[in-house]
């Protein structure tokens, strides 16, 4: 909690472990109406203070689940609950900017901006107020994801994949969300860095009480997490 202290109106659930942060309730999803269903009747509770891995073979609907959990889209059937509230009816832009930090597989950083600008952009977008200058918070985050401080004013273009990965994590943490959602966070990294990143995630969950959800097909990552949500391959029809 010493990285960014947010003064939000959110209920103070962050410190409590075992509080349901996100719940899936009979969630089904198909991209087009009446089309092929990617997810069928999924139920799961994502609690704070845990690292949860979502695994499954290709085509099992991992990315779809990610977009449902991050509020980029809504299920065709069932509900996604955030702190007991239906995400489909909530302001999902506010949810994305406030309550969840998403680390996309392709990072989705703005290449023309510097590291610091990318991080501060997310902080600005959250609309939260911070008790320290944003630049300072960004510097601390960069240190936390183990990047050199001089990276702050480097453009994203000039960074390697692993470095971009860390910047993406730093950005996801910058506005102190309750939930961290990572899509294949270790896919581009060597084993040592992979462990490094996992240490950061575990630290976030266990010491800061965040709900860390990792979408991965790496058995090592799954083994290091507290829970594994196994998505079975679709066997429709």
């Amino acid at each position: 909690m010493d990285i960014a202290t947010a003064t939000t109106a959110e209920p103070a659930v962050t410190a409590n472990t075992d509080t349901p942060a996100l719940e899936l309730e009979h969630v089904s999803y198909s991209y087009s109406k009446g089309g092929k269903r990617v997810l069928i009747d999924k139920n799961y509770v994502f609690r704070t203070g845990r690292v949860i891995s979502i695994t499954g073979p290709s085509g099992a609907g991992k990315t779809t689940l990610l977009s449902l959990l991050s509020g980029l889209t809504t299920p065709t059937k069932g509900r996604v609950l955030h702190n007991g509230e239906d995400l489909a009816k909530a302001d999902r832009y506010r949810f994305r900017s406030h309550d969840i930090g998403v680390i996309f597989q392709s990072f989705n950083l703005l290449p023309a901006l510097t590291v610091a600008e990318n991080i501060i952009l997310s902080m600005d977008a959250s609309g939260k107020t911070f008790d320290k200058p944003k630049k300072e918070i960004a510097a601390e985050l960069i240190e936390k994801v183990r990047l050199q401080p001089e990276y702050l004013n480097e453009r994203i273009l000039h960074l390697s994949g692993g470095e971009q990965q860390r910047v993406a994590i730093a950005r996801a943490l910058s506005y102190d969300p309750q939930i961290i959602l990572a899509d294949e966070p270790t896919g581009n990294l060597d084993l040592a860095t992979q462990d490094d990143i996992m240490t950061i995630f575990k630290d976030l969950a266990h010491n800061e009480g965040k709900c860390v959800i990792i979408v991965t097909h790496s058995p090592e990552v799954a083994a290091q997490s507290d829970e594994v949500f196994q998505l079975a391959p679709l066997r429709e029809r």
């Binding site: 980029l72 949810f95 998403v102 989705n108 703005l110 952009l121």
Partner: protein, 579 residues
């Protein structure tokens, strides 16, 4: 705040492209500024030019219709031999034309009827002029040697000068068209002009004058018989205030009129004298103008009503009736009212002031039209360019839209950011363009106006030549410039030949008839119009305001592309997008 900040940062970040857009917008804005400034200045000039000045108007016959009639009657009727003897070039049938024109002049009562028909306040003045001949004791001032030689014997002198008038008579219109007080073609040695009021005298054809001794006559009957004469004429005949002079009827020398000199005046402007000098007879010389009141003319039986009604065609008096209106708007109302009061189609209400002003505005109008075209073209091209640029811009930034929406920035905010970015850039461009346009608009618009004026002038001169040709065919009004040199030759030659032949009566009859009908000569066409050649196309706040509105409009139109694009963007797409 987030939107503004982000927009500003993005603008700063993309310097290259934005400078390009700023330049394009600046050029568009500069052109639009000049266009707007010209239109503004033109409309201001039009509105204020005649707003507060009084306008004089006259009623005159429709020139073109009469010319047409004259030409038709010329082809059908046989030519008059007496005319052809004195004129070398084509011999139009003056008499037939004159008879066609005769009776077209309005009477004093008609004029006054129309004045009463007006719904706006209108004042009027009029003058009547006729020719009288001198006697042995009272001779006209003469400048031309030909005329001087002729005037030694009184009879032939008056006749010959009359005939001279007859040939060139209709061309002597130096001043306003539409029967303005400039076109008195009167046979005789002197022009005896009766005025209705001081205003009428002030607008006398020979220009303004000052009294050197005595005073101006009154206008009621008690002052009948009193005249004022020019100082030159007084000196020439060794006359002073209080003396009496005797003049005769030009066609009947036994008919004499005795007049008392109550004042001697000095012309302060004499340009008309020079212009007419070689063309007319001595009566055309401003120095030979005798001024009196209309009441005097009436008492002598020389007023227009009497001369028009009597059977003797030899003496005619020309009536110049002028209405004075408060401003140009009143003039328009007056013209409509007069038409409603039953003025025939062959008559038109004309105002030399308004028409001269209108024609002086022709280049300005053309310029305003040009400015409008420029404005439209520039704005359309500008809008298209901006839309295209913005389209490419937005497509390029699709990924950015995705990232922003994915991290939870609302689409409306993203769209607003894009619009604000564009606004910042276009406003910079407009500011630069307005500054540039403001600096350039005055010299550029005056340059453009100068070219319009010269184009108009060359057009006018070709029109003048064309009209001169038409005038030859019609036999009536020759152009002032063209006819002056040749007519002076023919004047002396014809007067010498005429003095031997005794055909003076028919000639002078013809010429006096033409005097009567010749009011409203086409002088206005030939008069060099003093075009408005300077406009004050400075950029004022109104222009800046209009430009900012235009800029906002253009920006919104081009931003619409971006807004539509952003609004249709699905945040989910970001999972598939990777730059």
């Amino acid at each position: 705040m987030f939107v503004l900040n982000n927009a500003w940062k993005t603008v700063i970040r993309n310097k290259g492209r934005n400078i390009l857009i700023v330049l394009i917008v600046a050029i568009i804005a500069a052109a639009a500024t000049i266009g707007l400034a010209i239109r503004n200045a033109a409309s201001t000039a039009r509105e204020t030019g005649l707003a507060n000045t009084s306008v004089t108007a006259t009623i005159s016959v429709d020139r073109s219709k009469l010319m047409e009639q004259a030409r038709e009657s010329q082809s059908s009727s046989s030519s008059d031999s007496s005319d052809s003897s004195s004129s070398g070039d084509s011999t139009p049938d003056f008499d037939s034309m004159r008879s066609a024109l005769e009776g077209s002049s309005l009477t004093l009562a008609d004029y006054q009827k129309y004045e009463k028909a007006s719904s706006v306040s209108v004042s009027s003045y009029y003058s009547e002029s006729t020719g009288v001949s001198g006697t042995d004791s009272f001779q006209p001032v003469e400048t031309s040697t030909a005329n001087a030689a002729n005037s030694s014997s009184s009879d032939s002198s008056s006749d010959s000068s009359n005939s001279g008038d007859g040939q060139q008579g209709p061309g002597g219109d130096g001043k306003g068209q539409g029967g303005g007080p400039g076109n008195m073609m009167t046979s005789g040695d002197f022009t005896l002009t009766g005025f209705s009021s001081d205003t009428a005298i002030a607008n006398a054809s020979n220009g303004s004058f000052t009294m050197s001794s005595g005073e101006v006559f009154g206008y009621d009957e008690s002052d009948n018989g009193k005249v004022i004469i020019s100082k030159t004429l007084a000196d020439f005949n060794n006359l002073s205030v209080g003396d009496t002079i005797t003049v005769t009827n030009p066609s009947d020398t036994s008919l004499t009129y005795t007049l008392t000199i109550c004042g001697i005046y000095e012309n302060s402007t004499s340009s008309n004298t020079n212009a007419m000098g070689p063309m007319g007879g001595t009566s055309q010389d401003a120095d030979n103008a005798i001024y009196t009141s209309v009441s005097t003319l009436k008492s002598l039986g020389l007023d227009s009503d009497t001369t028009a009604n009597d059977d003797n065609d030899d003496t005619t008096t020309q009536l110049n009736y002028t209405y004075v209106l408060a401003n140009a708007d009143d003039y328009e109302t007056f013209a409509a009212d007069v038409k409603a009061a039953g003025l025939d189609d062959t008559y038109t209400v004309q105002s030399a002031d308004v028409e001269q002003y209108e024609s002086s505005l022709v280049p300005l109008d053309n310029l305003a039209k040009f400015a409008l075209t420029l404005l439209i073209v520039v704005l359309v091209v500008g809008a298209v360019v901006l839309v295209v640029l913005n389209l490419f811009n937005i497509r390029e930034r699709k990924y950015e839209v995705g990232v922003l929406t994915a991290i939870g920035v609302k689409k409306a905010k993203v769209a607003a950011q894009f619009v604000i970015e564009l606004l910042i850039v276009t406003m910079c461009g407009i500011a630069l363009g307005v500054a540039g346009g403001a600096v350039a608009s005055v010299p550029v618009s005056n340059q453009l106006l100068a070219s319009q004026v010269s184009a108009q002038e060359s057009e006018a001169s070709s029109q003048q030549q064309q009209f001169g040709r038409a005038a030859d065919m019609g036999g009536g009004p020759g152009g002032e410039q063209q006819s002056s040199s040749s007519s002076s030759d023919s004047s002396s030659s014809s007067s010498s030949s005429d003095s031997s032949s005794a055909n003076s009566s028919s000639d002078s009859a013809g010429s006096t008839k033409s005097n009567n009908t010749q009011q409203g000569g086409p002088g206005g066409m030939r008069q060099a119009v003093n075009y408005v050649s300077e406009i004050n196309a400075t950029v004022n706040l109104a222009v800046v305001g209009q430009l900012i509105l235009i800029g906002l409009g253009l920006t919104l139109i081009s931003a619409l592309v971006g807004i539509v694009f952003v609004m249709r963007y699905e945040p989910l797409q970001i999972l598939a997008d990777r730059s």
